[in-house]
Symmetry: C2
Subunit: 336 residues, 2 copies
């Protein structure tokens, strides 16, 4: 099995970039492993789950909450899971976020790994150890930072991925390109979503590039005291509108990125706002939304990135180069 290691201060993540789901049993003993998945993934791939203890969640961000955590813990107790068990999240970002969180708190922490099945989970959500659940409209308000023991990619899962889910994933890829990788930005401009969707090799290369990029940033700054903040590009406004308007994560942060690009233009003289918007649109992502400013501002006030009356906003100085820019809540209110 081809694998790479990403080393963190307290853990090492084994990454299997191109493996069959069948191989999972060589990484996690079936007798002491529980898979966590959702109804969508389970019904599209039922056979794969044969011989595995499996807990099936209701799909979607609306179920990424404490009630789901409670019911999973009760099921784990029912399955008589002790501290030697491994929890494996097989699904998109919601599943991997909940899996990491439950594994972090069950009996004060058990081993866990991920088999991300969506593009977004492969390039972003499953990487970096952030996990958690929402509290009301507030995203990821309860959670931990804890690295998985392994991440296994089986690109065959992408075959059953709806188009909208591809675009969701491209939003995070465009984010990576915008703040860290001008060359990838250009590559995305020269390609198209359809090209990646029909060419597994091309998609695989793009995924691995993003896995490396994100791990590199997180290994330098696991607990987000500096550079890792750049990966929040588009996520401040994005998170605020996501649960308020029940938008997909990709669409929310696309709107957030385009707002942040406008802000970058106004505050830093960033010259390529149209280029960012054009790329988002090329990948079928929205660049604006008619939202209620008052409500959005209220949610923004509880953003985890706030410190007193200031939010660390992520802007771009030039394409491929993000910067952290503290901005007051008042100024933000005006810009909205």
């Amino acid at each position: 099995m081809n694998k790479k290691y990403f080393r963190f201060s307290q853990a090492t993540v084994a990454y299997y970039p191109a493996e069959s789901f069948q191989s999972l049993k060589h990484i996690a003993d079936q007798r002491t492993t529980v898979l966590l998945t959702d109804e969508n993934v389970f019904s599209a791939h039922t056979k794969k789950f044969r011989n595995w203890n499996t807990i099936i969640l209701k799909p979607g961000e609306a179920y990424k909450n404490q009630a789901a955590v409670d019911s999973i813990i009760e099921e784990l107790i029912g399955l008589k899971c002790d501290r030697n068990f491994t929890l494996v999240g097989v699904g998109g970002g919601v599943v991997t976020d909940i899996t990491g969180y439950v594994a972090g708190i069950y009996m004060r922490g058990i081993r866990f790994g991920f088999v991300p099945t969506s593009l977004l989970a492969m390039v972003d959500a499953s990487i970096g150890g952030k996990n958690g659940v929402d509290v009301g409209v507030y995203k990821n308000m309860a959670g931990l930072i804890r690295q998985p023991s392994f991440i296994l990619h089986d690109l065959n899962f992408l075959a059953s991925l709806p188009d909208a889910e591809w675009y969701n994933g491209f939003a995070e890829i465009i984010k990576h390109a915008s703040v860290k990788d001008a060359a990838m930005f250009k590559e995305l401009e020269q390609s198209s979503p359809a090209l990646f969707m029909k060419n597994k090799k091309l998609a695989g290369e793009l995924i691995q590039k993003n896995v490396r990029l994100k791990h590199k940033v997180v290994m330098k700054d696991e607990f987000e005291t500096g550079e890792r903040k750049l990966l929040n590009f588009g996520h401040t406004l994005g998170h605020a509108i996501e649960n308020l308007y029940a938008l997909s994560h990709g669409r929310s942060i696309a709107i957030g990125m385009s707002f942040a690009a406008k802000l970058s233009e106004n505050l830093l003289g960033f010259k390529q706002r149209e280029r960012v918007e054009a790329l988002l649109e090329k990948y079928q992502l929205p660049v604006q939304l008619d939202y209620e400013k008052g409500k959005v501002l209220e949610v923004l006030t509880m953003d985890k990135k706030r410190s007193g009356t200031t939010i660390n906003f992520i802007l771009i100085k030039k394409t491929g180069q993000g910067i952290i820019h503290p901005i007051s809540l008042n100024q933000l209110a005006e810009e909205l």
Copy 2:
């Protein structure tokens, strides 16, 4: 302010052994601190909480659950707490357990400290970083290990402590003596609960001795791979009966210790079972309970110390010297 430091791999705990509650404001800024307490402590010491943001919980183990965590998080959001806030648990073990847990997961972790107000919380619950909540009858099934930034002892809180709460605390002190400190065991035999209850200086010395003992064990083995397990003496049967019969923690583990002493006699030829029982009785603690074996065994099966069909039981070889003794669930069933 007199203080000591206990250093862990990822954190340092500042311990203020004899301070007035008034001093708390020099350790935690009132503008960015929220106190967590329960109705009992709040009504006995209402004035102390003036000028502090305070969240008041319903008292008792029955409320140490996820619902309490949810409502605290909602109150923290209501108070607009950001990541720079400090959470301080002012209360007994239930309050400190919940405080550490909420602080560990709120926005993926904020600073926290403890002002334990009961003898049990001072000598045991507030020390060592274990926190969490119960899930049904299963104790501490969701939780973390994370050290507080500080622990402040104000012995004046003990003045309002009901006698039963003193005995609760003595149970953990007898536990420490039984597995780690033969001299303290003897000292307890030669003294009496009444002596400590009426002599603040004597109580203070006993408390500090136990704080040092527990920190010493935990600093050597924070994540309980070895020696820290000894501190589970009496806690295997103890935890199983505690929520099943709504017993106090101290009474539960006293029954657990006396069972473990009997087991030590049967399996290891331990010769001083009567001495342990006599000491428990001297400190007003029970040494037996007529429980339903089937039910208890069912809960024991989900003990966090179980690994497959074996439980790491803590026995005593001789007074003051605990050992870890793996025992099968079947053998345990017979001994019960």
